[in-house]
Amino acid sequence: MSTETLTIGKALNLGLRKAMEDDAKVVLMGEDIGKLGGVFRITDGLQKDFGEARVVDTPLAEAGILGTAVGLAMRGYRPVCEIQFDGFVFPAYNQIVTQVAKMHARSKGRLPMPIVIRIPFGGGIGAVEHHSESPEAYFAHTAGLKVVAVSNPVDAYWGIQQAIAHPDPIVFLEPKRRYWEKAEVDTDATPDPLFASRVVRGGDDVTVLAYGPMVKTALQAAEAVAEEGRSLEVVDLRTVSPLDLEPVFESVRRTGRCVVVHEAPVTLGLGAEIAARVTESCFHSLEAPVLRVGGFDTPYPPSKLEEEYLPDLDRVLDAVDRAMEF
């Protein structure tokens, strides 16, 4: 067994390195990812070790990054594209939605698109406009794409490798404000499957669902209510498309209450889909409606207000209380 204490950022870096060692067709592309190692240093040192053909500092053009990734994928490469910040994926949105997502179906399976689109997402870092967005629903709404959102170093290390090895295009969301969170990672372990949710804390009163940066917040809420003698079951969804809700249904059938937490605006966010499915599958067990805690239906605010906008411990506790009082 070889265990290391890693941050999410470093775990991603090591995972990328491993994927590049394992498969010579893996090519990293993005703005500032080479010499600089990316603005978050996730690709630090990789260009030095793997060369400029495998770690490509691209021109400043996101449509170009994703569009050329399609061609490279057709040629048998496995492009791993870094989008510098969530808010800058939109110039590439056309390529992602109309080409990357649809090529497999269009070609009757002849042209697989093993492309990974890495996006640091979410708020809480005191940034200016476009650096704090949670665009996962746009991608989850697009057939042909898979969407993963990691919450911890273990999933970061394994998840990035699994995503790269996977034949379908994957939007791989990295919780940027948690890049520096640490955990022990056993690099010899057998990883959990990529598209599976995970119960990260057992409990009986309310099932709380989260992914990416909000998992930590959900766990804090569980900690806080434990002092009052209540117990929350916390599920890290890990993948937002496809959703793995069987463990969630099992949990909700026991607790009868369900709260979904994400940073993205509530309207038509992942919580809406989850609430519908939980209601369909667990209707007779529900003691309260499925509640959603998310961002408001406003543009992400200037950073002085982001703590007001983002779901925090209190907002999760408030929803837990409302679910309990029902």
Binding site: K35, G51, A53, P59, L60, A127, F296, T298, E308
Partner: protein, 379 residues
Amino acid sequence: MTALPETTEMVDPVPGADAPHLPQRSELVQLLTPEGERVEHPDYALEISDEELRNLYRDLVLVRRWDVEATALQRQGELGIWASLLGQEAAQIGAGRAMAADDMAFPTYREHGVAWTRGVDPLHVISLFRGVDNGGWDPVATGFNLYTVVIGAQCLHATGYAMGLQRDGAENATLAFLGDGATSQGEVNEAMIWAASFSAPVVFFCQNNQYAISVPLERQSRVPLYQRAAGFGFPGVRVDGNDVLAVLAVTRQALQAAREGQGPTFIEAFTYRMGAHTTSDDPTRYRLASELEEWKLRDPIARLKAHLSRQDKADAAFFESVEREADQLAERIRGGTVDMPDPDPAAMFDTVYAEQTPWLAAQRDEFVAYRASFEEAGE
């Protein structure tokens, strides 16, 4: 089964990646040498009084002081981030002062010098970087659009605005700012196509500061940027971006041509980002200190100062008074920043739509009540 080709071992470097760049022609428009010597250019005559020269000097010094103060404020935790204009003062002041009152500027996030020339209060720019709002100035009243952070998007806005001016028969033009990196964006190229197709009165003002964060110009272009304009069908000019006089003359002429219906011009202001990309950046990871030393010799302020002193166009008292004014400005910026009130949290709901929707109004009410519940609980 797929019919993908089996490729052989990947070649590194990719063949052609290091193809030689076309030789750069030295067609740099310059009216003031780095040593401060006034030179003439056949296409760009500039009549300028001593007083105007002193005013330009004052502009340059004041915006640099603003910039230095803002960087310090960020270091002290008063700003979330700051995008420094250090080294690009002449490009921005020259361009800004070339504009007429009713022309419209479309800046990126670094055009503090242009903001200054449009009468925008520095604190209204600071408030964006402090996280209070997305820029506190009135874009209509100042003729200076709000900062655009998504690279290149503003070039299309400037083109559309210019098309509007054209339709209205207004004798004005727009000035679209962009960086060297931005020239790679599809939207920027679309803007140039639109501008050309409609002969829109827009001038593209590209500050080639040699880098897009860490990525050097060579990754964006194999030809000097100003030469790209020819492919779109309008003139391209490369100007010494550290020479405020040359920038002023070139931009004036391009704006005038646009106003007169001659269509767009692309100006490449050849300059250097003397600081980090932003306060979050560490340039030692991607460029040599010697490069900066070289560019310090072409400092935009030093050369105008040398010119003014040597030609007896300004005396010691003038330079001292500008320094004093800069100190006062810095003090005002510091005080205004530290005392800047935080925004009203509920305001984030208020300007999303022209008229508040019932759903958002309900969300706002809930938000206000939720916050009040903490205040009642004395938390």
